[in-house]
């Protein structure tokens, strides 16, 4: 008995330790890689003494205060509005026919990398953009585009809108996964029978339960929005840009000494994420208080339901704009020439699409990387969930490591990580890249698989065991079919997350391993809309095709278990 206890204990410790080493170590190495330069120590450049100089020169640089304020403002507003829109859509449209339409675009929108959405939005909303071309010159009277500060605008609203277009679908997707574990219909029936309106029912009863389950992804959205790079490059104001862009410029400055103050900026970015999360906590407390008061007050709230359709439509606007932007991207990929104010391309051609073969190696790399990292993450999570008791899985340290990428801005540790990897000769290797992608995918896999594993009906398991099925056999014949949908969702989300990773691929891939996403951002920086539009289409292709295959495969193979399953792929 004692021996058994120690071995369990040892197993628990070893799992927590592996978690620490696999997930925490690279991030810590990465952060230490910017901590030392931030403190003035960078021997390769001849800085061998600690000093406050990098910190001071970063803070004293023109526009830094405004850059920090801009990042905080856009990040917080974008996160709040995204969550709000997500909740409004769920409340207002969940049972509506429009929702099946929204739901169908979700997979595509989650899968589309940020840069592709940004490219599309710029083209849609700029003063010379598609909207203005449709309205000109008949309605607006413009023969050449007006000099309006629309995209990017000086206040960051374009960036906020772009972030919303990308984050609302993501939050909807995770919310739907959460909803599948809740008896929503019953809640509604009970609340209705007590006279509560729809808004009241959802706000007081259902949304808080959903929020509890999606809280970590919400933090991921918050930290990402506070430190976004690829989208900000296209949509944010540039004088000054948000903090993360200032840091990136520092890292990319030809004057190598600029890396020292930039490293301090990277540390500041972590602090900013901390401040953002702190403000969020306060907001959460206020909401809790408000809902609590409402519950106790007993107001049925029937009268606000009539505004719901208006708000629902407003909440869908960012999604519609993103879709229209993608349509524009497709149009550009087949456009010969298209000048203002023509509402549609003047000539079409397929030159760019004839080039598809040259993108094949990139597509193959992206697919291998996304698939490899997603399956690796799934393997790790499953292995842990079977090897470790629940207490280990709830271990704070382990959870802290796994969810680390949600809380630390990418820009803050990737350069340091690159230095560490290069020291052991691992940069630019498949091993390192799959590992890093896995670090970013694993939190999502965890959030999907662990609840599904816990929700397995233990009685079925016991029944199978009494019939003599071994552990392995029970896993294959019982657990996999029952968890088929969550497992499929985990793979799909993994692929989508991997496809969207830009900075990690650039820094860790060391240029040796390139994905279609890196190519797309590079083409977008080149300003040729045709190839950029094509690259955006190819970027979407992988996740959308994987979605279709996973969905169809699950339906064929495991469809007959549907009555016993939970967490269906949406």
């Amino acid at each position: 008995m004692l021996a058994f206890a120690t071995s369990t204990k040892m197993r628990q410790t070893s799992i927590v330790l592996t978690g620490l080493i696999v997930f925490l170590l690279p991030v810590l190495l990465g952060i230490s890689g910017v901590l030392l330069p931030a403190a003035g120590y960078f021997p390769a450049l001849g800085f061998t003494q600690f000093s406050l100089h990098p910190a001071l020169s970063f803070v004293m640089a023109p526009g830094v205060g405004a850059a920090i304020w801009l990042a905080l403002k856009t990040g917080l507003i974008a996160s709040v509005l995204s969550l709000l829109c997500c909740f409004i859509i769920l409340t207002g449209l969940m049972h509506d026919r429009i929702f099946s339409l929204v739901r169908r675009t979700l997979a595509a929108l989650v899968a589309v990398p940020h840069s592709a959405i940004a490219i599309g939005l710029v083209f849609l909303l700029a003063p010379s953009g598609w909207l203005m071309r449709i309205l000109s010159p008949v309605i607006t009277g413009f023969n050449s585009p007006p000099d309006w500060s629309l995209v990017p605008d000086p206040y960051g609203w374009a960036l906020i809108f772009g972030l919303m277009a990308k984050e609302i679908p993501f939050l909807l997707l995770v919310s739907l996964a959460a909803i599948s574990t809740l008896p929503v219909r019953q809640f509604e029936q009970i609340a209705n029978s007590l006279g509560y309106g729809r808004v009241a029912t959802w706000t007081m009863l259902i949304l808080p339960l959903i929020y509890l389950q999606i809280r970590l992804p919400v933090f991921a959205v918050l930290v990402f929005s506070l430190s976004v790079v690829d989208m900000a490059l296209l949509l944010a104001p540039t004088l000054p840009p948000p903090l993360a862009i200032l840091v990136l410029h520092g890292f990319l400055d030809a004057d190598l000494a600029a890396r020292l103050p930039a490293s301090f900026g990277a540390i500041l970015q972590i602090a900013l994420a901390g401040i953002g999360i702190g403000i969020w906590y306060v907001g959460e407390a206020l909401c809790r208080h408000f809902i609590h008061d409402w519950r106790r007050g007993g107001w049925r709230g029937g009268s606000i339901d009539r505004y719901l359709p208006v708000f629902s439509i407003m909440a869908v606007i960012p999604l519609a704009a993103a879709c229209a932007g993608l349509v524009a991207a497709f149009l550009w990929s087949v456009t010969g020439s298209w000048f203002f104010p023509s509402p549609l391309p003047q000539t079409f051609h397929l030159i760019h699409w004839q080039d598809v073969a040259s993108y094949m190696p990139l597509l193959k790399t992206s697919l291998l990387l996304a698939g490899g990292a997603s399956f690796a993450a799934l393997f790790v999570v499953l292995a842990w969930s079977y090897a470790a008791p629940d207490s280990t899985l709830n271990n704070r340290w382990l959870l802290g490591c796994i969810f680390m990428p949600f809380f630390i801005p990418q820009i803050s540790f990737l350069l340091g990580m690159q230095i560490s990897l290069s020291r052991v000769g691992l940069d630019g290797t498949w091993l390192a890249l799959i590992w890093v992608h896995m670090i970013f995918i694993l939190p999502y896999t965890w959030l999907i698989v662990i609840p599904a594993r816990r929700a397995l009906d233990r009685r079925l398991d016991h029944l199978a065991a009494t019939l003599g099925a071994s552990g392995w056999k029970r896993f294959i014949t019982l657990h996999v079919p029952l968890m088929a949908y969550p497992l499929g969702t985990a793979i799909f989300i993994g692929i989508a997350v991997s496809m969207a990773l830009y900075l990690p691929t650039v820094f860790v891939g060391a240029g040796r391993i390139n994905t279609i996403t890196v190519e797309a951002v590079s083409l977008a920086s080149g300003g040729s809309r045709g190839p950029a539009g094509l690259a955006a289409m190819l970027q979407i292709a992988i996740p959308v095709v994987s979605f279709a295959i996973i969905h169809w495969g699950l339906q064929c193979r495991f469809g007959r278990f549907s009555g016993m399953q939970s967490g269906r792929l949406q």
Partner: protein, 410 residues
């Protein structure tokens, strides 16, 4: 037209004669040294880090890759950068990690301040290698001194010239009959046409080049621009530039509150009709964009009457290149008449050659002269007036001063 053709024929004959006299450089011990590289280079993979934002350039590099594979069994992998400084940054990371061999970059497309930064941080090959390249004999450092000094920084034989560039402006001749051909005329144009001019935001390469162009013009090529920046003098020398910018700012595109991030985006703004004048460092850029349908075919190019900035871009091999031998063979191939003719073709890329035409053999001279010029590309004679690049130390200093004045958005 006939006159032009006759002129062309005479030119060909003249070059042919000159070619007969000069074309055959003596086979030297240098090329023997070069030949000894070939066995080691065979089978090597060269990771060529080069800006990847232009589909035409990418196509050219992959063409070169095919030939290198066939002839030398060298695999050329184009690592597409969005910013060359990121490669310099990676080399620095490798140096920090003491990775002195087997680095991730074998060949880098570079010039100006990135080269100066690499030189300062010792990120280049220890030994000079460029003058050993057989095709180096086809260049003429006397006629084109810029191949020996990159933005006034001596190349020390550590980067091989690849192509030439000159700042040219593009405008839509249907909307703007007479473009402003000097910094002073441009100031007037901006005042009369609010919101119709802008430039890429420094520290973008073209953006800073534009600042240098205006500075050189307004100060009549002040001699101190061609030496390291003298802090004591900086404010006085640059004062005319800041006056010019302060006056222009309220009438720039977006009232000077936002700038395009690079020149392709600037070109796109011209195509979209948001601005009237764009600029690029490649004289054939506008023609190529017209051919792709990105600019209207009424777009033409011009340079300022006093000349515009011109420079050379290079290929460098880092200190820790894993395939240094093969990288030299690649650099030599890129310098060959075959590769340079292809590159100068505006249908392929349109980048002017660094070779000296008189030093080529007759067939190659004809190859260059027979290249079609794009509809909007200026002739060599029109491009003739060029301004030398200031010392590279001016780039970071101008960037910093611009940032100090305009970056806070006020």
């Amino acid at each position: 037209m006939i006159c032009q053709r006759r002129h062309f024929l005479i030119q060909i004959c003249a070059y042919l004669l000159l070619g007969l006299v000069f074309a055959y450089p003596v086979q030297s011990a240098q090329s023997a040294h070069f030949d000894s590289l070939k066995p080691a280079a065979k089978g090597q993979t060269v990771y060529f880090n080069a800006w990847g934002g232009d589909a035409k350039i990418n196509g050219y590099i992959s063409w070169a890759g095919d030939i290198l594979k066939q002839r030398y069994d060298i695999t050329l992998v184009h690592v597409k950068l969005t910013d060359t400084a990121s490669a310099v940054s990676r080399l620095l990371a490798e140096k920090t990690a003491r990775r002195d061999t087997d680095g991730t970059i074998d060949l880098l497309w570079v010039n100006g301040e990135n080269f100066a930064a690499m030189k300062r941080a010792d990120l280049l090959q220890k030994q000079p290698w460029v003058t050993h390249l057989p095709n180096w004999q086809l260049t003429d450092p006397v006629a084109l001194p810029a191949i020996l000094s990159d933005f006034a920084e001596p190349t020390d034989g550590k980067e091989s010239p690849w192509g030439r560039a000159q700042l040219v402006f593009a405008y839509d001749s249907e909307k703007l009959p007479t473009p402003p051909r000097s910094a002073a005329a441009l100031a007037q144009f901006i005042e009369n046409n609010p919101g119709r001019f802008t430039f890429p935001q420094p520290p973008d390469f073209i953006g800073v080049s534009f600042l240098k162009q205006v500075l050189i013009e307004l100060t009549n090529s002040h001699p101190s621009l061609y030496g390291p920046v003298d802090e004591a003098d900086f404010d006085r020398v640059t004062a005319p530039l800041w006056d010019w910018l302060d006056a222009a700012k309220p009438n720039l595109w977006r009232r000077g509150m936002a700038y395009p991030q690079n020149y392709p985006v600037l070109r796109q703004l011209l195509g979209d009709g948001e601005i009237d004048i764009a600029m690029a460092f490649n004289p054939a850029d506008a023609s190529a964009a017209i051919a792709r349908g990105e600019l209207p075919d009424s777009v033409r190019t011009y340079i300022h009457d006093g000349g515009t900035l011109a420079n050379v871009h290079f290929l460098a091999i880092p200190f820790n290149a894993a395939a240094a031998e093969a990288a030299q063979i690649v650099a030599n191939f890129m310098l060959s008449p075959e590769a340079q003719i292809k590159k100068a073709d505006s249908r392929i890329w349109g980048d002017p050659t660094v070779l000296s035409i008189p030093r080529l053999n007759a067939a190659d001279q004809v190859g260059f002269l027979a290249l079609p010029r794009g509809i909007a590309t200026l002739s060599d004679a029109e491009l003739g007036r060029s301004l030398a690049e200031p010392h590279p130390s001016w780039v970071p200093r101008l960037e910093q001063a611009w940032k100090q004045r305009y970056a806070s958005g006020q």
